[in-house]
Structure formats: structure tokens, C-alpha cells
């Protein structure tokens, strides 16, 4: 007859009352888990859509470009990095691009924009906004005077496919440069804000206009050109954006090795004469490219745990109350137990155990139900048609796919355990204060 089994039997002295408490706990945990899975799913889908859309999973860039967005600081030794990326098995796609701040002007307005000078196929392999072209087409020719702009920018500047747009930007010397482009397509980005500012133009056109590639370099491209002669940064995708640490580590180790080789080989490759060999190379994952996404992840996890704590705290009060009732009903029995020689430590552990068992009994049921619900809804998704428009503003889909959140199960169990222990203290204290002979006199 262990204390555990005695405690367990005591719980079932009031089967209905205990069943209600256990059921409430299961329900609370279920609701909490479901909410966690739902919110995490919502957040993940937002994160993933932002990563797909314009952030990418990782990025390589030169340190000086990273600091100042200096147009004259392209990524040195580009072919070597591209070779590294293409041989890494966890890297699924990469897209080098030129990045230029500019002012876009149409007949009816002007707006500050960011030009991505891109290599169309590569860009499309990494970013979904380069694939979603509801009107017109995406870029094809690397030299054409063409741009693809976001739907929001099109609205704002009142331009459409085949309309003209004037872009003003600085070249590598810092001189202003104005050029005329034709809008060939509108892309559908994940967020309206990005649609308004990001604009695609062909990489080599931009390289030429800004002077990133001088005329001799341009001339050499006519032969058998390297696929990607110049870029400020290389964005890449990996298999699992939530497990890209090994990839980053591999890249940084190779980075060190490569840099030495670059110095030896910089004379061989004419294109690399531009390279700022001495600048450090920066490798970023999406968390550092877009800290707000990582921040959202952390805040989300913390608020979810806080929310769960509140649910469980409410439960704990119910349990405390139930235990107080149980103690009150058993005053006479507790008095008898003390009289015959059950010491305070044993009485205390009996009551704490009862409380913990009562609290923990509902936990696996709640976890199982919650997990099951998440597994089911993660397949089917949950659609909120009425708020589709609103969600789109924040780069979210109207269908939310909850995800299972096993990483929370252990903290939840620990939380239940701690709260159960805490809610046992008061009833246990009450019990310990009982005087054996007075308790036994109670009618």
C-alpha cells in the first residue's frame, strides 16, 4: 500500500468531482495546445511565406555592402562562392542579385524603390514573388530595359504592363543616372509593403548602367560568359530553414579557406579584379536577414507559454478548491491518522501526491487530444474566408495550417507539475494544522 496508490484511491472517493476536475484539466490543456499549434502554424506560415517571398533562407554578401549598401561593393570571388553553394547538398537553390536604391517615376507620381538586378531563372528558383506574375510576364533578357513591379506600386504610380517607368539611381562613381524602362509584368508579393518597394530589373542591364561591370568586362561576356558575372549578394534556399545551422557552419569554414584562394586567383579571373578581396564576407541566415521574423518566433513562443500558464493557473485554483473540500470532508479521518501515528511528513506527502495526481491525470488526455487535433487540422487547414483580405495585408494566407508543437509538451507538463505542487501547499497546510482529538470530535 504505497502512498501513491492510497492517494490515487482517495481521488476516486468523489468520482464525479474528480472526473470533473480531470476533465477540466484535459479540456484546458487541449484548448491550450490547440491554440499553441494554431498560433505557431499561423506564425510559421507567415514566416515561410516571407522567406519564400523575398527574404530567402540565407544570404552571402560582402561586409562593406552589408554595412553601407554601397553599390560599389559587390560580392568578391562570386564564382567560387557559387561553386560552394552548388556543391552543398543542403542548399537547394541560389540567386545572385544586384541591389540598388532608386527613385521610380511615372506620369502620375514617384516612389522610392529598391531595384533587384536579377538573373530571372535563379531568382524564380528562390523567390515566389518572382514566380507569381498575375499580369504580363517575368523578365527574360538579361540586358533588356524591362522591369517587373509589384501590384501595389503599379496602383500607386498608376502604371500597368507596357507602360514606361523612369528609374533614377547612382552609379558606382556616385553620379546620378536616369534610365527608361518598360513594365513587362506585375508580381504578386506576400506583403503589400514589399510590393510597393521592391522592383525587378535584369542584372546585366543594371550592372552596365551602374558601371558595376565596365566596358571591357562587358565585352568579355560576349564570348562564353560566366552564368553570373556580378552580384551584391547571393540569396539561397536550404532544405529546412529551421535547421540550417550546419549549412551555415560549412559555408563559414569554407569561407575562410576560399578567401586565401581568392587572393591567389584574383588575377586569373578578369571579373574578379573588381573584387574587394580584403573585405570580410558575411553569411546570414533568415533570422539575421529579417530579425523581426526571428523576434516574432520568440515572442510567439513566449506568449504562448504565458497564455498556457494563465489557463493552467485557472485550473490550479479549481484544483486547490477541490483539495480543500476533500480535506474538509476528511477532517475526522486525518485526525485519526495523526492519532495512530502518521507523521506530518507523511500527511503532507499524501496531500501533495493527491493534488499532483489529480492535476496530472488530465494532462495526458489533454496532450493527446490536442496533438490529435493538430495532426488532423494540420492536414486540412483552417480557412477564414471573411478575413482573407486583412490577412493578405500582413503577408498571410487565409488558410492556416496548425502545426504540432511537441517542443511545448515537456514545459507544459513541468508547468502542471509545479502548479499542482503549489496548489497543494495550502490544503496541505490546512491538514497539518488539524489537531487529532479535535478533528475526531467533529460530527
Amino acid at each position: 500500500m504505497s502512498t501513491v496508490s492510497m492517494a490515487w484511491r482517495n481521488i476516486w472517493r468523489s468520482p464525479w468531482r474528480s472526473a470533473v476536475v480531470i476533465g477540466a484539466m484535459a479540456l484546458g490543456v487541449w484548448a491550450g495546445i490547440f491554440m499553441m499549434g494554431w498560433a505557431t502554424g499561423l506564425n510559421d506560415s507567415r514566416t515561410v511565406s516571407m522567406l519564400d517571398d523575398n527574404v530567402g533562407h540565407g544570404r552571402l554578401l560582402s561586409g562593406s555592402f552589408d554595412e553601407s549598401q554601397e553599390i560599389s561593393a559587390p560580392l568578391p570571388a562570386l564564382p567560387l562562392f557559387l561553386e560552394t553553394l552548388s556543391t552543398d547538398t543542403t542548399v537547394t537553390a541560389f540567386a545572385p542579385r544586384i541591389v540598388i536604391q532608386a527613385m521610380a517615376q511615372s506620369g502620375s507620381g514617384a516612389a522610392p524603390v529598391m531595384i533587384y538586378g536579377i538573373y530571372p531563372n535563379a531568382e524564380q528558383s528562390v523567390f515566389s514573388s518572382a514566380r507569381k506574375i498575375p499580369e504580363g510576364r517575368f523578365l527574360e533578357d538579361l540586358f533588356a530595359d524591362e522591369v517587373v513591379i509589384g501590384q501595389e506600386l503599379a496602383k500607386r504610380l498608376e502604371v500597368g504592363v507596357d507602360d514606361r517607368l523612369v528609374l533614377t539611381f547612382q552609379d558606382v562613381e556616385g553620379d546620378p543616372h536616369t534610365a527608361l524602362f518598360y513594365v513587362v509584368g506585375l508580381y504578386d508579393g506576400a506583403s503589400n509593403m514589399l510590393e510597393e518597394t521592391l522592383l525587378y530589373a535584369p542584372a546585366l542591364n543594371m550592372a552596365q548602367q551602374t558601371g558595376l561591370l565596365d566596358s571591357s568586362a562587358m565585352a568579355s561576356l560576349s564570348g562564353s560568359p560566366p552564368a553570373f558575372p556580378v552580384a551584391h549578394e547571393v540569396c539561397f534556399r536550404v532544405q529546412d530553414p529551421y535547421a540550417m545551422k550546419p549549412t551555415l557552419e560549412r559555408l563559414s569554414i569554407q569561407d575562410g579557406l576560399r578567401l586565401e584562394q581568392v587572393e591567389q586567383r584574383s588575377t586569373i579571373h578578369s571579373l574578379e579584379t573588381l573584387a574587394f578581396i580584403s573585405t570580410p564576407i558575411v553569411i546570414k541566415d533568415w533570422r539575421s536577414i529579417s530579425p523581426e521574423l526571428a523576434y516574432a518566433d520568440n515572442v510567439m513562443a513566449q506568449s504562448l507559454l504565458l497564455f498556457m500558464t494563465i489557463i493552467l493557473l485557472a485550473m490550479a485554483f479549481g484544483i486547490l478548491n477541490t483539495m480543500l473540500m476533500a480535506i474538509l470532508e476528511r477532517t475526522r479521518e486525518l485526525g485519526m491518522l495523526m492519532a495512530i501515528g502518521m507523521n506530518r511528513r507523511r500527511i503532507f506527502s499524501l496531500i501533495v501526491l493527491e493534488t499532483i495526481l489529480l492535476s496530472l491525470a488530465g494532462l495526458p488526455i489533454g496532450l493527446l487530444l490536442g496533438h490529435g487535433t493538430l495532426v488532423l487540422t494540420s492536414q486540412t487547414g483552417i480557412t477564414f474566408e471573411s478575413v482573407e483580405q486583412g490577412l493578405a495585408e500582413f503577408g498571410m494566407d487565409a488558410t492556416i495550417y496548425p502545426v504540432t508543437v511537441p517542443e511545448f509538451y515537456l514545459p507544459i507538463a513541468a508547468l502542471v507539475f509545479v502548479l499542482a505542487f503549489l496548489s497543494a501547499l495550502y490544503p496541505a497546510r490546512k491538514a497539518l494544522k488539524l489537531n487529532p482529538i479535535e478533528s475526531m470530535r467533529v460530527l
Binding site: M1, M6, R9, N10, R13, R332, E333, M336, L337, M338, A339, I340, G341, M342, N343, R344, R346, P436, I437, M440
Partner: protein, 225 residues
């Protein structure tokens, strides 16, 4: 040396209605193997006296020595342990733990004492046999009659071989047949196990069975034979 030695024990209950001297200067001693009834009218102080002897309550004055040990000198927590190791209790009612079977109830004190499961179950079974309830070993208290419950309580009190057993009106809630049976059992165990019994009662049938009688009136011993 006497097993239990009381010297000038006084217990006063203080309340707004006034002070009640429930035990008024009692001196007495109890020897090993006694089968003693404390009798007297309701309110004469039987329960108070037994509680004092059992270390459940502290007298205001006087000393109670058990095998030479002054129990007033023990701290509360040591007193609990002292009761566990030395005294068997049978109360008027509500003796048993409802969630435990007769066997588990009987073995409960032994378990608190840390006796191994095998040993305590064997001993508990032995006692249940002695009180004639071996066949109800696996029944819970609510499946037993009042008389049977009291017999289990006696079995429990004796299972740990205490120095003595205190029973406060153990038969108060029983009919005459159950009373007879319980007293037979107690007398029997008193003989067989040499267990000292001190019990209170105001039932004349019970008084007849005692080998020594202390008559109390207003907290004083008025007769001892």
C-alpha cells in the same frame, strides 16, 4: 516499574462558559498485561484521561510516565512517533481508512513503521484470523458491519505489538452480540498476546468483563478494584 504511571494528572478545559476540570488530580498505575476498564457517567473524564495517557493531549499538571519515559517531555513530532511505536488505538468510530481493505487497514501501522510488505501482510492476516475476519480481508470498511469494523480496528491496534492498547468506548456503537464478540476477542488477545488493554465504557456488560475497574466521577478516581 509499572508500565504506565500517572501522578496527580490535571486537565482543565478553558472556555468562555468557564473552566472545566475534566481530570482532577488522578494518580494511578497500570501494569503489563492488564485488562482494565475505566468507567463512569458521561462527562466524568474518561476520554480526557485516555487521551492524556495516549499522548494525544497534554495535561495541565502532573506527569505521565510510560516505562519510565515522561511523555510530557516529548516534542509534538516525537510524540507522534512515540504513539506509532508504542500505543495501539481503538476509537469509538471512524477507525478505518475507507479506501483501504481490511487487510491493508490492519497492516497500516506496520507499514508506517516500515515493516516489509511480506512480513506485515502475514502479521495482519494472523490478526484478521484472530478477530474472525480472514474471509473479509479484501473488503473495504464500507462493506463491513459496524462490529466487523471495530474488530478490524482491534486487529490493527494489535498488529504492531504495541506496549498497550487504548480503546475509548469501543463498543458504544455496537449491538449486544457484536459487543460480546469484540470483548471475547479482546480478552482472548489479552491472554494470548499478553497485550495490555485499557478501555473506557459505561456499558455494564463490558464492565463485567474487565479484570480491573477504575470508577471515575467528576475527574477523580472514586473506586479502584
Amino acid at each position: 516499574m509499572a508500565l504506565i504511571e500517572l501522578k496527580n494528572v490535571i486537565k482543565v478545559y478553558k472556555s468562555q462558559a468557564g473552566n472545566v476540570t475534566a481530570v482532577d488530580g488522578i494518580s494511578a498505575s497500570f501494569e503489563e498485561g492488564e485488562f482494565t476498564a475505566i468507567v463512569g457517567p458521561s462527562g466524568c473524564g474518561k476520554t480526557t484521561l485516555l487521551n492524556a495517557i495516549g499522548g494525544l493531549d497534554r495535561p495541565n499538571q502532573g506527569t505521565i510516565k510510560i516505562e519510565g519515559q515522561d511523555i510530557a517531555a516529548l516534542k509534538d513530532r516525537d510524540l507522534i512517533d512515540f504513539r506509532l511505536q508504542n500505543i495501539g488505538f481503538v476509537f469509538q468510530a471512524y477507525n478505518l481508512i475507507p479506501v483501504l481493505t481490511a487487510l491493508e487497514n490492519t497492516a497500516f501501522i506496520l507499514e508506517l513503521q516500515g515493516v516489509s510488505k511480506k512480513e506485515r501482510e502475514a502479521r495482519a492476516m494472523e490478526l484478521l484470523e484472530a478477530v474472525g475476519l480472514a474471509d473479509r480481508a479484501h473488503n473495504r470498511p464500507n462493506q463491513l458491519s459496524g462490529g466487523q469494523q471495530q474488530r478490524v480496528a482491534v486487529a490493527r491496534a494489535l498488529a504492531s505489538r504495541p506496549r498497550f492498547v487504548l480503546a475509548d468506548e469501543p463498543t458504544a456503537n455496537l449491538d449486544s452480540r457484536s459487543t460480546e464478540t469484540l470483548l471475547d476477542i479482546m480478552a482472548n488477545l489479552n491472554q494470548r498476546e499478553k497485550t495490555t488493554f485499557i478501555f473506557s465504557t459505561h456499558d455494564p456488560r463490558v464492565i463485567d468483563r474487565a479484570r480491573r475497574i477504575l470508577l471515575l466521577e467528576d475527574g477523580k478516581i472514586v473506586m479502584s478494584k
